[in-house]
């Protein structure tokens, strides 16, 4: 690996930043903002339609053809709704929290490459108004860390919303939500490390470039990190079957019970925008991003087409999850996150490291596999033993009750 690939960066901003460059950046930012808003609107409609079909209903069908403008109608309506500020609310934090939720939802998408041809040495660079640039808003050297940082900041939006409402159900919902998001973030981060290990870089464009010629991380990392990431992402998004945050039978509306009008709409928007963004991140990390065969026509178009095809597939999967899977119980949720996904992701990462180092050093691959699997089995046995000890202690303690 060369130093150049480590510090891969958008060539647009590598040289002198003059007015033309700033204008291109502004144009790209406006396009990303508009794209995200339209995509979120369509995702809300798409999920309602898919969910309706799966439960044998019609779904929205009045506003526009196939009801496709339903989200726009809802959005307009919400501006005319009263926006209440509860008596007991902490007024400043109550107003601040929607910003903390919606802004990270926008920012994560900045590092997603949505097109470009990654098969040559250029690595997805295209020509725009006489300037060479990547088909993504930004390509900072720590792209993947930016994604994780933004998902951490989103926890504040949820936590502060519930805390500042000065009400029972929002507080309980937000405490649940932050514990859940924090727990699954560890699994999310651990499965991403495997991708970084295979790609050897933290930039999203570098990760996509490492996956061209069908070397998708989905199988290059051996499926397991993808499965862990998908489950952890679903929990991180608070989507069914992990939507305990707004388990309406127990918590009314969860952390945004006290929110109404446009502030509530911001949380709704952020939730679906996060779904779109997280799907785009999964496409980038595991499904090869815009990589795919060029059939007929211009090359740059096919990158975008493949990216959106994969994105649609994942969005459909999330809608499918919601229509199919019943909600978890809170202890099941925590057990899955801490006792299954985190050890699994950590063990798989070590196995991958051992296999890669072993092949570099010329060790016997069968021996490496056997020792690695034996070590993982020993770790698993320890975990089972620990779980049994905990259960026995709990039962002994419960006997005194």
């Amino acid at each position: 690996m060369t130093a150049a690939s480590l510090l891969a960066a958008d060539p647009l901003l590598a040289g002198k930043v003059d007015l033309a460059v700033v204008l291109i950046v502004a144009l790209k930012a406006v396009i990303v903002l508009a794209f995200l808003l339209v995509a979120t609107m369509l995702m809300i409609w798409f999920e309602r339609k898919v969910h309706a079909d799966m439960t044998n209903r019609i779904g929205p069908n009045q506003a526009g053809p196939f009801g496709i403008l339903q989200s726009v109608a809802d959005g307009v309506k919400v501006f005319f709704k009263e926006d209440l500020l509860p008596d007991r609310a902490d007024r400043f934090v109550f107003r601040l929290a929607p910003f903390l939720s919606v802004v990270p939802a926008f920012l994560t998408f900045a590092v997603v490459p949505i097109g470009g041809n990654f098969s040559d040495a250029d690595g997805g660079v295209i020509e725009l108004f006489g300037h060479r640039t990547l088909l993504q808003l930004a390509d900072p050297p720590i792209g993947v860390l930016l994604v994780l940082a933004m998902s951490s900041i989103a926890v504040y939006g949820v936590m502060l919303a519930g805390w500042s409402s000065g009400s029972k159900y929002p507080l309980l919902g937000s405490v649940r939500a932050s514990a859940q998001m924090v727990s699954y973030e560890a699994a999310l981060g651990l499965s991403t490390v495997t991708v970084v290990l295979v790609a050897g870089t933290l930039t999203t464009s570098g990760i996509v470039a490492a996956q061209h010629t069908w070397n998708w991380n989905l199988w290059a990392t051996g499926i397991v990190p993808f499965v862990v990431f998908l489950i952890a992402a679903t929990a991180e998004l608070n989507r069914p079957p992990f939507d305990l945050v707004e388990a309406e039978q127990e918590l009314v509306g969860g952390f945004h019970t006290e929110y109404s009008g446009v502030r509530f709409a911001m949380y709704y928007l952020a939730e679906f925008m996060n779904t779109v963004t997280m799907s785009a991140i999964i496409v980038t990390l595991f499904l090869g991003g815009p990589n795919g065969p060029v059939l007929v026509g211009p090359e740059w178009l096919w990158g975008i087409v493949w990216f959106f095809a994969k994105l649609m597939l994942l969005l459909f999967t999330f809608a499918w999850f919601r229509a199919t899977l019943p909600r978890f119980r809170y202890d099941q949720l925590m057990d899955l996150g801490w006792k299954a996904l985190i050890p699994l992701a950590l063990g798989w990462l070590l196995l991958m490291i051992a296999i890669r180092v072993g092949s570099d050093e010329g060790w016997n691959p069968i021996l490496v596999m056997v020792v690695g699997v034996a070590a993982l089995a020993a770790g698993y046995a320890l975990l089972v033993l620990a779980g049994r000890t905990a259960r026995r202690n709990r039962e002994l303690a419960g006997a005194h009750l």
């Binding site: 501006f79 709704k81 808003l137 930004a138 050897g200 446009v262 320890l382 905990a390 419960g398």
Partner: protein, 151 residues
């Protein structure tokens, strides 16, 4: 640092979008709060006690344990980027590091720090709640006592 310029631009646009939405709502939405509307939501009942300010300590525990794991993950990222250059030395270092973290993780689980839900009782002294209980033997049919003879 110029690589972060687009992120900052998008940040400004996103904040602007949210702020403009709130301004538009302020101009367009009606505004007539009443005491009932701005009281804490309590499913239609008048709230009889203060909203809780305390919650189970387990949530704090999860937050603290998360910090340990988050720091571990942050250490893994730089290693993952340059693992090819470090070779066998890096692998050994990584195994030592992960074993240390994993040992504390096993200790946490064995201690019950990550257990949720009510604790199950090992043995119960009350004969009415013995393990042989099934719904057929114990569900008391309210109002049926004495009626069967009458019918």
């Amino acid at each position: 640092m110029a690589q972060y310029l687009p992120v900052v631009t998008l940040l400004a646009l996103a904040v602007l979008f949210a702020a403009l939405s709130f301004v538009a709502s302020r101009l367009l939405a009606p505004r007539n709060p009443t005491a009932a509307k701005s009281a804490p939501y309590e499913c239609g009942i008048v709230p009889s006690r203060e909203p809780p300010e305390r919650f189970p300590v387990r949530f704090y525990l999860v937050a603290m344990i998360f910090i340990v794991f988050d720091i571990e993950i942050i250490f893994l990222y730089p290693y993952a980027v340059i693992s090819g250059e470090l070779g066998a030395f890096g692998l050994v270092e990584m195994i030592v590091f992960v074993v240390a973290v994993f040992a504390s993780f096993v200790f946490l689980i064995a201690n019950g720090a990550l257990d949720w839900g009510p604790s199950r009782r090992l043995r119960r002294v009350d004969p009415r709640v013995s393990a042989e209980r099934t719904t057929a033997t114990t569900v008391r049919r309210v109002g049926l006592d004495g009626r069967e003879e009458a019918a």
